[in-house]
Symmetry: C2
Subunit: 119 residues, 2 copies
């Protein structure tokens, strides 16, 4: 297989799922996780393509983080590109919102003080 990233990365380009093709259960399962909620919230507060995977404030190791991003890509929530040694991200806000209207808005609204369950 040829490397199609074009950025000199040794990794294969990340696979994506179009939000239009995402089943509801896949979307809900992707968002029903405190680490992924935090990743989506931080991405929403950042400009597109400005955040590389190591820049998020989440308490997980590299392998777990990679898994979380795979889940987010598979749910149509995140798009990734390799730029040299870095993999940068954007939230697929408009496309995901078109597929599941209001779901991201629930996730991104101001914290209303209810205590989340512990890990």
């Amino acid at each position: 297989m040829s490397d199609q990233t074009g950025g000199g990365s040794h990794r294969a380009a990340p696979m994506h799922t179009d939000p239009e093709d995402v089943p509801l259960l896949t979307a809900l399962s992707a968002l029903a996780d405190p680490v992924r909620i935090q990743l989506v919230r931080e991405l929403a507060a950042s400009d597109d393509w400005t955040r590389n995977c190591g820049s998020f404030d989440v308490p997980v190791g590299k392998a777990a983080l990679s898994h979380h991003f795979t889940v987010l890509r598979g749910a149509g929530l995140v798009e990734q590109r390799d730029r040299g040694p870095r993999r940068v991200n954007r939230l697929r806000r408009e496309e995901f919102d078109a597929r599941f209207p209001g779901l991201l808005a629930l996730l991104l609204r101001a914290d209303d003080g209810r205590e989340e369950p512990g890990p």
Copy 2:
């Protein structure tokens, strides 16, 4: 402890969580399950208090079903009452919708043909 159900049931009355007190993660986790999605959809299509727990078309045993209803009560989605030997249900549609606007609507909209992942 006295039995407060008043219905002659041998069981303790079910515990409920007010939707206003439910964290987002709890709501998403409750709905990110194919059996619970089915239970909520069937309840939404039925009049309040007309469905007892054994009346749903889901492929799980009694213990698993009881667990699913416990999760739904804990997420503020379902209210249950004991009526004699039967435990009957209603979807807390208005209260849940006030807490998480649009979330139930996503769950209840017509199936759009995208394939859900297998169990």
